[in-house]
Point group: C2
DNA sequence: CTTTATATGTCAACATGACTGACGTAAAAA
DNA sequence: TTTTTACGTCAGTCATGTTGACATATAAAG
């Protein structure tokens, strides 16, 4: 019987390649969240707070519904972390002008400061990885990652230029 | 005052590019875990069980310590999910032959079946993304992802061939 | 103008998976 | 023989997700 691992076996190579993809994503995500987690702990916050601060900073005046669509959690889950962030002065809510049922979300100065502090580490990590890999590799990274993301969310990443 | 977004501003472009990286990772991870989570729920398991089953399947006869190093969680946290998997017959433990303090981990047939069922979805997802992006993009993806991973774990991904 | 739908919020109960800290056992290494 | 290592367990706590029920204000439809 031929050894499935040493023979030239396209099916095995494929499986191996795909498993490496799975693992790359696991390890990258694990290491990508480690640094901000440590900072968040100083504030008594967790990863969920980071996500809210990040996306509110990125999409000023976004609605609660839009944020829920991004995070894919229930409003009750969001409510806990968002409520904390509002009470502690990192996020403000104001009624929408067109639709006054909406509570548009915005970071305060304090919120912007924390956002930058948290995300800076992650930007530095990406800057290093991008620099070491080169522009062409970054383009490939983008392509593969977009393919992993649900089609309805791909439009969040418009083509550059 | 010049609009920082419309002017040709290399610093802004860089920040935008880096933020896109952060978001690509967030969305990809979110969507990559969604399908297995649904299957796990049938068994009354969670994502933590998946990680254990995955890595034990990938590294047969691995030690508990090695698994802890990969997962970066405490032994108490691991103990709960691992204990369940052992009790329910997905994983077996046997003493190491060289070092009998070790409890080497292995999937049972049942464990292998669940592992394949869970990971198949993720492999299909990667297969699609890889096929759509092309071989060159996959190489770039690999390079960037490796750069994001802590140096001590990069050796888990040997160069192909 | 009345009804219905939508955006948001809240209360309560529960599950998962992480943590810390303390203590225990068996086997390897010094 | 003593110390260290690999692993396990008990107990308590916290963060973050869930479901389900109910409430309020406003927009949209009839």
């Amino acid at each position: 019987m031929t050894d499935v691992k040493t023979a030239i076996n396209p099916l095995f190579l494929r499986e191996e390649e795909l498993r490496q993809g799975v693992e790359l994503l696991f390890f990258a995500y694990r290491d990508f969240t480690a640094e901000p987690d440590a900072i968040l702990a100083e504030y008594g916050f967790g990863r969920a707070h980071h996500r809210v601060i990040y996306f509110v900073g990125r999409n000023p005046a976004m609605t609660v519904s839009d944020l829920l669509d991004i995070l894919r959690i229930t409003k009750q889950s969001l409510s806990r972390v968002l409520g904390q962030l509002v009470r502690e002065g990192f996020v403000v809510q104001r009624p929408g002008s067109r639709d006054r049922r909406q509570r548009l979300l915005e970071l305060t100065i304090k919120g912007v400061e924390l956002e930058r502090r948290l995300t800076e580490r992650q930007r530095v990590l990406f800057a290093k990885a991008y620099r070491d890999a080169g522009a062409e590799a970054v383009e490939g990274f983008r392509k593969v990652m977009l393919g992993l993301i649900a089609p309805e969310d791909r439009s969040r990443f418009p083509v550059k230029r």
